[in-house]
Symmetry: C2
Subunit: 156 residues, 2 copies
C-alpha cells in the first residue's frame, strides 16, 4: 500500500462526492446529500472557493478525503473547520485517517490558526476514540443549532 | 426606543469586542476572549474578511451584534454560520435579538444558502427557547469537537 495525500483538483470531485455519499450512508442519512460534483466544482474551484479538499490516494485510486474551510471565533480569531474526514470503508484502520488529519493540522499550523473544529455523530464511538487520542475535546456543554432550508423558507 | 440594524464598520469594533466580552462573562468563560478590536478590524475589514457583522443601535448607542461567516456543508452546499448573537444585558427582552436574527436570515435568504447554523450553551434555556420558537433544531445527535491551540501545538 502506497498512500499519498495531496490537494484535490476539480477532476477529483466525482470521487469526492462518492465518498461524501458513502459517509452519509454510514451516518444513516443517505437522503441528506443534496449536492453533486458539479456544485462541488463550482463552489470549491470556480469564482469562489468555499472549501479546500485534501485527498488520500492508494496507487492513484482515491480512498479518502478531508474537506476544510475557514471559520472565525470571536474568542480566538481565525480557525479551521474540518467538515468531513472520510476514509472509504474497506481502507479503514490503515492509518489513512491519521494521514489526512495530519495534513489538516499541518495546514492549520502553517496558517497559525488557533483551533481546528469539527462535528461527530454521538454513536460513532470509534471516531470519538480516534479524535480523543489526537488530543481533541468533545464539547459536552454546547449544542449545534440548525435553521434548515424549510425553517428559512418559513421564517417570518 | 428606536432600534436600527446596520452593517458594522471598523470603528464599531471596540464596542463589538465589549459585547463579545460581556457574552463570554455571561457564559462563565471570561478568560477565553483572546482577541481584541485591532484583531477584529484586521480580520474583518482589511485584506481578508473572515466575518461579517451586523449591529443593533439604540439612539446611536451599540446595544447588540450578530457575527456571521460562510460555511460549507457537503450535504447542502453553502451555509451561513452565526458565531455570536449578542444583546447587551440591560437591553434584552425588547426584541433586539429578533431584529438581529431577522437581518441574518434575510441575508442568508438573499445568498440562497440552505442553512443557518450556530451553537448554544446547554444551560441557556432562554436562548434555546428563543431559537426553537424561530424554527431552529437542536442537533442532539451531534457533538462539537475542538482541537484547541494547545492540542495543535502538541499534535505529533
Amino acid at each position: 500500500m502506497k498512500i499519498r495525500i495531496r490537494e484535490a483538483q476539480k477532476s477529483d470531485m466525482p470521487d469526492v462526492i462518492s465518498l461524501i455519499k458513502e459517509l452519509a450512508e454510514f451516518e444513516k442519512e443517505p437522503d441528506q446529500v443534496e449536492i453533486d460534483s458539479t456544485i462541488l466544482i463550482n463552489d470549491g474551484f470556480e469564482e469562489n472557493s468555499y472549501f479546500k479538499c485534501f485527498i488520500a490516494e492508494n496507487n492513484d485510486c482515491i480512498i479518502g478525503a478531508a474537506i476544510i474551510y475557514n471559520r472565525y471565533s470571536t474568542w480566538k480569531g481565525r480557525t479551521i473547520h474540518l467538515e468531513d474526514l472520510i476514509v472509504t470503508e474497506k481502507m479503514r484502520a490503515n492509518g489513512v485517517g491519521t494521514l489526512l488529519l495530519d495534513k489538516v493540522v499541518n495546514y492549520a499550523k502553517k496558517l497559525n490558526v488557533k483551533r481546528v473544529s469539527w462535528e461527530v455523530i454521538n454513536w460513532n464511538k470509534k471516531a470519538i476514540k480516534f479524535y480523543l487520542n489526537k488530543g481533541a475535546l468533545i464539547k459536552q456543554d454546547w449544542s449545534i443549532v440548525h435553521l434548515d432550508n424549510n425553517a428559512l423558507k418559513n421564517y417570518i
